[in-house]
Structure formats: structure tokens, C-alpha cells
Symmetry: C2
Subunit: 254 residues, 2 copies
DNA sequence: ATGTGGAATATTGTATACCAGCATGAATAA
DNA sequence: TTATTCATGCTGGTATACAATATTCCACAT
């Protein structure tokens, strides 16, 4: 009683030449011959285009419902509804849009509670990532983290609060990437994308930025010292501090 | 220069009567008139059916590639390819299948490295969840955790190693659910589903089960004592211990 | 003025048809 | 026997047509 017997429609298990090409890394001998997939399907293109559009939209500026028209989008992209729908479905599973049957597809605005939950999840992922970084990252990789703040010394910060916000996110994303754990990386990617959308609405005060930079430096020092537990605590508390800040002052949400 | 100007096809922002019906709870005055959703679309049905089938398939028994035939499945379900494809796409984004262009859709087998990464991510999520539980859960909720092991005292364990494995997963899932953080819950759900698939192949030894139960009891005690940091450490180390075990002894993967 | 009915409209959900590309294997040549 | 060519078939990707249903708005009766 193997799989074939039980579910004849499902399991057509055969010993085939496995789809190596798609999974295997490059053969070391070949000089990077064909790393290209060369096949970004319409679905992927539509997905990327839509995601970029949504992220760039500053959706928290207004409270009006923002609807996405499948057919219009398909027309504008010059493709059919099918790949657009597939892209929409993926965006929905990632929490960016919400499809209401026979109503339309709407861009999702996160509530304050949801934002806090996302930040908390991010704290969980990044604090674990910090642990891993202290155990596996090279000194050079950790050193690169410092460079990110080289341009933000002293009063530079006040002049470029906006840019700092992006560097801030990149810093945290870098830590997670340095962990080398693909599951962590992928999970965090969605969270960070959402955070980038809210960032514009988050009032950045000079005090918080100063404190933020100090926190970051302490984190880097802990990573360099390979202090696993200390790095974890610092990263976690830094993120949870932001969550608390949102909880108290982010009235503009909801 | 607002959104409407820049991307006329994207943002048809209008002030509409928001889709209340789908979001709002029942009006307290009405006696639960129409709570029915009544519309599990074919897409959702196909998704559920496929996911159940995949989870129940014991895919790690053999090494043969398992291919899913869109057309055949559609025929067996009595529906068209479209909803089947949509279900497949979602399963792919969740890491259960992998679609290779012009080759077919294959069920994914996680490598040992990937399993370790998943367990590590799980450790991150659950240890944060444990912190939250110590801060927000009611005593009754924590007490329910104890009941899960009521049937597994003494030598009961040896006789029902298989069932214990499921209770084990449910215990950890319960902790995450008790956190009340929907983001954590959703992220962990996928991980647990994958773990359930691998569970069958994981050799459960008596010693490890005994130690596991002891760990669980310590975790429950920490939660009851509202010892935030201690609960976090216990949960994290418990999960990472499993990761280490897989790293050393799970040769059957890859 | 207001409430009601219903047709027109607009939307997603689903089915079907078509397409392009790769794998396969038979046919053929060496 | 072995290597090579090439036609065929099967695959997922895409386009399009159709179905079902919620919404909207206007005519019309009250």
C-alpha cells in the first residue's frame, strides 16, 4: 500500500532526472555560466511591479479605501488578468492587500495593534539572528555594520532624519541577513517591507534617533565581542522599545 | 502631486462605504442572524484538499520525486485548472511545493539544513511567545498546558511514542497561540505544518522523550511563576536542543 | 419627501482555449 | 552498437470567455 495505490491522482511518483538545474548551485568549475533564470514570468513581473507600487504609495496618508482594479492593471501592464490575479493572490497571502469577494481588492492598512505585533515578531527574529551572528559571522561582516553609520555622525543626523530612517531599517535587516538563516531572512523580509510603509508616518524625533544610534553601537560591540546573550538582549530590547513607543504615541494609526 | 496623479491606474481612492460586513462583528441586537460565510471558494477547497494530501503523504519515506499534475487534480476534484493553480501557487509560497517551468510541480522535501533553520526560527518565535505568555495569559490558560500531558505519565509514554509526538507539537503550538500575537501565530503555523511532516521520520527515543517532558514541565512552571526571562531561555534552549539533535543524528535527511 | 423594487452595472470567480518550450524517444546515420 | 537528429507530446504560462452575485441608482408608488 504505497502512495500510488492510495491516491492515484496525487502521487505519480517516478524516478526522474531530478530538476537539478533549478536547485543546485553553480558548478565550481564553470565560470558563472548561466546563473540567470532568464524567465521572469509575467506573474513575477506583475508581482514586483505591484509590490513596488504599493510600497511607494504612502497609504497611511489618507484614510480612503484604496482599491486595485484587476482589469485596469492588466490593461496598463499590457497583459491579461490571469498573471495579475496570481500576483494579487501572493500579495494577499503576504498581507499587503485584501480581496473582498465581489467587491474588489483593497490595499491593507495595518492597525496599531498589528504594527505592534509585527515589531514584536521582528524582535523575536532579530534577537535570534543576533545570537547566530555572534557564532558564525566573520569580523569583516560585523565591521561592515559600522560603516552604515559613518555618514551619520554628529549633527548630520538632524539634517537627514529621513535618510537615517532607511539606514536604520537596513541595519536591522543586515543583522538578520548575517545570520545566514534563510527562514529567518525570508520571514523578516515581509515584516521589513511593511515597516518601510509605516516609516513615513512615524514621527522621528531627534532624541529617539540619538538613543537609537547609541543602541546600535552597543549592539555592534556585543556582536564583535561575540557576546551571544548580551547581543540578544540588546537587540530584543531595542525592538521592543520601538513597539512600546508605537503603543504609546502612534495615535495616527487605527 | 498626489497618488491619483502619479499612478492613475493604481489608486482609485474613493471614500466608499467600507466593506463593513466582512470585518465588523455581529450587531449585538440582532440574534446572530447571518454569521454564515457560506462561500469557501473552489480555490480554498482545493488548497485545503491539496495541503491535507501533501501532509498525509509521508513524503520522506522515499526519495522519488513526487509530481502533482494540475490537469489530473483538476479532473479529480471536478473543477478547472484555474483554482487548482491558485492553490498550487499558495502552497509554493508556503514552501510545500515547487513549480519548475515546463517540468511540473513537485512536492518539496526539506534538507537537513533547512530543517535546522526552521527549528531555529521556531525557537525564536516561541521564546518570544513565552515572554508574552508570562505577561498576558490567564492562570487558567497556563493550567491547560499541564492537562496535555495528563495521559502521558510514567510508562504510558513508551507505549504511545507516536501519539506523544503529536501532543508534543501541540504543546509548543499552544504556547505560541497563548501569546495572542497573530503574527507570531501565523508564522509558526507554517513551521509546525512542516514539522509534522518530518515528525514521522524523526526517530523518537525514550530518553529524549523523558527529557522533553521534564523540559516541558519546567517551562510550565516558569510560565506560572511569570518568570519572563527564565521562560524564554527554557523554551529557546529546548528548541535549539532539538536543532542540535537533528544536526547530529538526522542523516536520513538530504 | 421617502421608501421600495428592479434593472443595469461592476466586480471577482471559474472554465476553457491556445501557446511556447523542453523532454522524450523513435528513426536514422555512422 | 552507438551517437545524433528531429518530430511529437506533455508541461506550465497566458489569454479570453462565461458565470454568479453584490452594488448602485433611477423610476415609481406611497
Amino acid at each position: 500500500m504505497n502512495n500510488r495505490d492510495r491516491s492515484p491522482s496525487l502521487a505519480n511518483a517516478r524516478v526522474r532526472s531530478a530538476p537539478e538545474a533549478a536547485r543546485a548551485p553553480l558548478p565550481p568549475s564553470q565560470p558563472s555560466l548561466a546563473p540567470i533564470d532568464a524567465a521572469p514570468s509575467f506573474k513575477h513581473k506583475a508581482y514586483a511591479a505591484l509590490k513596488n507600487a504599493i510600497v511607494a504609495m504612502d497609504i497611511y496618508r489618507s484614510r480612503d479605501d484604496i482599491r486595485l482594479d484587476e482589469r485596469k492593471l492588466a490593461q496598463d501592464f499590457g497583459i491579461s488578468r490571469t498573471p495579475v490575479r496570481e500576483a494579487m493572490a501572493q500579495l494577499e497571502s503576504e498581507g499587503f492587500v485584501r480581496s473582498v469577494p465581489r467587491r474588489g481588492v483593497y490595499v491593507v492598512r495595518k492597525t496599531r495593534t498589528e504594527v505592534i505585533e509585527m515589531i514584536t515578531a521582528w524582535a523575536a527574529l532579530e534577537s535570534m539572528a543576533a545570537r547566530l551572528v555572534t557564532q558564525t559571522a566573520t569580523p569583516e561582516q560585523i565591521a561592515d555594520l559600522r560603516k552604515m553609520f559613518a555618514t551619520f555622525e554628529g549633527d548630520q543626523v538632524r539634517a537627514h532624519l529621513d535618510e537615517y530612517s532607511e539606514v536604520n531599517i537596513e541595519f536591522h535587516q543586515s543583522i538578520i541577513k548575517l545570520s545566514g538563516n534563510r527562514v529567518l531572512i525570508e520571514m523578516a523580509e515581509n515584516l521589513f517591507t511593511h515597516m518601510r510603509m509605516i516609516r513615513r508616518k512615524t514621527i522621528v524625533e531627534k532624541d529617539r534617533v540619538d538613543r537609537s544610534i547609541r543602541d546600535h553601537m552597543k549592539i555592534i560591540e556585543a556582536l564583535e565581542a561575540r557576546a551571544t546573550d548580551r547581543a540578544e538582549v540588546l537587540v530584543r530590547d531595542h525592538a521592543l522599545g520601538l513597539a512600546e513607543h508605537v503603543k504609546q504615541y502612534a495615535d495616527y494609526l487605527d
